[in-house]
């Protein structure tokens, strides 16, 4: 019988079974079922098959398929105050960098200003030495005498930590003394701090902002960790 049925007829039988066939077509098909036993047999067997499928036992799920948080990567919602701490830390960090940079510029300028007289006076110290003619035996003997005179002055000056400029700004007469005492020449070079030293530009305000940034970051991290811990505990 199947080989005699067209795909359209099979589809009509199936639609009749589901009562989705338009009324005129359904009436014509029912009339055919009355007249044709073979067609009726196919229809009945399709109906029985559908009935068996509907009678299949509905299996219960073997276990619960509910999802766990770690299975789906669900993160806990951020605590309410977390964004506030985050933004505050960012703002504080920006202020820290700003003050640090500012102090660095200003402190570097001052350092450069302190070094200027040193640099300016160095050629002055060198000039008399360069301009001075080579000493002769007579001049050496003359110079030997006043050697003792400047020495006490220098000894007095050194403990007071006079500005470097003053040492070389002294009258040219002392240049010879300075020459004979190389430690006086070299000492100023070690006393001036190097220009642009970062440690010199960390003002209290910079340190304050730096500390505040760290504190805010620690608070934000602590809030987040606590929220995640509670979330994992299922609270």
């Amino acid at each position: 019988m199947n080989s005699n049925l067209s795909p359209r007829e099979i589809e009509q039988l199936s639609s009749l079974l589901d009562e989705t066939l338009p009324l005129p077509e359904a009436t014509r098909l029912r009339a055919r079922l009355e007249r044709e036993p073979a067609l009726r047999e196919v229809y009945e067997q399709m109906r029985q098959g559908r009935s068996l499928l509907r009678r299949l036992p509905a299996r219960r799920a073997p276990h619960n398929f509910t999802l766990k948080r770690n299975m789906v990567g669900v993160r806990p919602p951020a605590p309410r105050l977390f964004p506030a701490f985050q933004w505050s830390a960012a703002f504080s960090a920006a202020l820290f960098l700003l003050t640090w940079g500012w102090n660095g510029l200003m402190g570097g300028g001052a350092a450069f200003g302190a070094a200027a007289p040193l640099a300016a006076s160095a050629p002055q110290a060198e000039a008399p030495l360069a301009a001075e003619p080579l000493p002769t035996e007579e001049s050496l003997s003359i110079m030997a005498a006043p050697e003792e005179t400047p020495a006490p002055e220098m000894r007095i000056l050194a403990p007071k930590a006079q500005p470097t400029a003053l040492l070389f700004a002294a009258p040219p007469a002392e240049a010879g003394g300075a020459e004979s005492d190389p430690s006086a020449k070299s000492a100023p070079a070690t006393e001036a701090p190097p220009a642009g030293n970062p440690s010199a530009s960390m003002s209290p305000l910079t340190l304050l902002f730096g500390g505040l940034t760290l504190l805010l970051l620690a608070a934000a991290w602590s809030l987040r960790w606590r929220a995640e811990y509670k979330f994992r505990q299922g609270k």
Partner: protein
């Protein structure tokens, strides 16, 4: 809480709300997967995967039948499972009970009102029907499971399988015809009412 509110809450990220929906629909999804795949373990895997996918893609649900939307997800998971099976065929093992003896029928099928003989008959009939379902091409099988087992109408089945309505009608008709031919081989297993009807004809 009604279903619409649960869905909305789940779409807002509430895993608890989603799990309540899982509990409401897991039997229907598991049954569908079981009848399409014909294997309990694969059906369980497909069902779990379907719920994962549903949670991840819940934002794409725009209203309508949530059951139909979930059935679409599990059908897709079954197709994926069958493609995986083709690449790596495995022999399904029979489930074992606590004493390591093979179980002939799953425990959860036990119906206290049935005699052992009735249970054995019911089990055999179920195996016969599943055998005939497994013999159908996948696209026919999916339509039959959705329409005749899950009770979806043509439009819902077409929506779930993303196929035209005419295609669904045609596939369902051909599937029912093939099932009829297959079930004839197990005529002796058919319930008495069916056998008597046939004899009367």
């Amino acid at each position: 809480m009604n279903e619409t509110a649960l869905i909305q809450e789940a779409q807002n990220g509430s895993l608890e709300a989603f799990n309540r929906l899982v509990l409401a629909y897991q039997d229907a999804l598991y049954n569908t997967a079981l009848r399409v795949l014909g294997d309990e373990d694969r059906a369980a895997d497909a069902t779990q995967e379907a719920f994962f996918s549903a949670f991840r893609n819940l934002h794409t649900f725009r209203g309508g039948s949530f059951k139909a939307w979930l059935l679409r997800t599990v059908t897709n998971a079954c197709y994926d499972e069958l493609r995986r099976q083709k690449r790596r065929p495995t022999t399904p093992l029979e489930p074992h009970n606590g004493d390591d003896d093979e179980m002939e029928s799953p425990r959860w099928l036990a119906d206290p009102s049935m005699t052992p003989a009735e249970k054995a008959e019911a089990d055999e009939l179920e195996h016969a029907i599943q055998h005939c379902l497994n013999a159908l091409p996948l696209e026919f099988r999916a339509v039959v499971v959705l329409a005749d087992i899950q009770g979806m109408d043509y439009t819902e089945a077409a929506s779930i399988l993303r196929s035209p309505l005419g295609t669904i009608k045609s596939r369902l008709a051909r599937a029912r015809l093939r099932l009829r031919e297959c079930l004839q081989e197990f005529w002796e297993l058919l319930p008495a009412a069916f056998r008597l009807q046939k004899e009367a004809q």
